[in-house]
């Protein structure tokens, strides 16, 4: 069973990397790119039998390790 974890900076937190990427894209002529927020993506391969268990483990490790709750939030998707 696999689970995907997406970790992103909270909206209130300044993202200097995303900002720089947005500026680079704009200077390449992509004027329609208004903002970029950079995040992290994790693919977990889990030895569990149900999607519910996968979600349970994924959200626990996301909360404890993969994301820093001070600056980041996360979202989980089953694969």
């Amino acid at each position: 069973m696999k689970a995907r974890v997406f970790v992103t900076l909270k909206p209130s937190v300044f993202d200097p990397q995303g900002n720089t990427i947005a500026q680079a894209l704009q200077s390449l002529g992509y004027g329609s790119v208004a903002e970029v927020r950079q995040g992290k993506y994790f693919e977990l391969d889990l030895n569990v039998s149900t999607a519910g268990e996968a979600r349970q483990v994924a959200s626990e490790v996301a909360e404890r390790v993969l994301a820093n709750p001070v600056i980041e939030s996360f979202r989980i998707e089953d694969l």
């Binding site: 200097p16 820093n68 001070v70």
Partner: protein, 244 residues
């Protein structure tokens, strides 16, 4: 007095810290591998700078799960003085001994330079011999030292006098120009609620001898020796006896 210097895989200021404590300060220093589960009778614990676990995931994010950190947490809870320098500060933030988090420097550059650091409070074990408002000249070397905490946390830190150091100009002003990384309120170092855990991004251990450009960092190490001596937990070091 015994200083334990924790060594994580990727620590690279452990030897600088050892040198400052042992050869400049004249106290006992001991390296402590991160797999240790006890602090071997240390009086002071220092988490040194570096790139523990390659800064993978986030700075300090993996190191906080090292076995030694459980012992450090117990030591801190019992009032033991703990100093986190640079990566050590980042580890203290990740493990929750200090509040907040580090973001990439606002200009995305790794800053390796001298900064002015104003001592905001002297009521911590690591600043007792400094003067309030004193400007120390210390080096920084980091890519992720942009201190962030939610507004209510920052307000709480200010209210409780837990901002210990701020980046300042040569004139001692906390200007935006003097802020090397974008830290909120020019914050360079903070302490715990009980004030015994202190973290800062600049490197006092690299500025303990005039031969390397500044000896302003030494006051932090001398302060903790005095603080413990005053608490009666230590008989007094040779160095302080010499100074007396």
């Amino acid at each position: 007095m015994k200083f334990a210097i924790v060594v994580f895989p990727g620590s690279n200021c452990d030897h600088d810290t050892y040198h400052a404590v042992k050869h400049v300060l004249g106290e006992e220093a001991q390296f402590l591998w991160h797999k240790e589960t006890s602090l071997a009778g240390a009086d002071v614990v220092i988490l040194p700078g570096g790139f523990s676990h390659g800064d993978y995931l986030r700075t300090g994010a993996i190191a906080r799960f090292s076995p030694v950190m459980a012992a450090v947490t117990r030591f801190a809870a019992a009032g033991g003085p703990v100093l986190g320098i640079c990566n050590g500060f980042q580890i203290l933030l990740e493990c929750g001994l200090l509040p907040g988090a580090m973001l990439r420097n606002r200009d995305l550059k790794f800053h390796c330079e001298w900064v002015g650091l104003r001592v905001e409070r002297t009521d911590t074990p690591f600043t007792g011999l400094a003067a309030t408002g004193q400007v120390l000249r210390l080096p920084i070397a980091h890519g992720e030292g942009n201190y962030y905490a939610p507004p209510e946390t920052i307000a709480g830190l200010e209210e409780q006098g837990r901002v210990i150091f701020r980046y300042v100009s040569a004139a001692g002003e906390a200007t935006d120009l003097a802020n090397p990384n974008g830290s909120l309120e020019n914050i360079a170092g903070i302490c715990s609620e009980a004030r015994n855990v202190v973290g800062l991004m600049p490197h006092p251990e690299r500025a303990c001898e005039t031969a390397v450009g500044s000896s302003d960092g030494l006051v932090m190490f001398e302060s903790v020796v005095r603080a413990l001596a005053d608490r009666g937990e230590f008989q007094g070091s040779e160095r302080l006896v010499r100074h007396a």
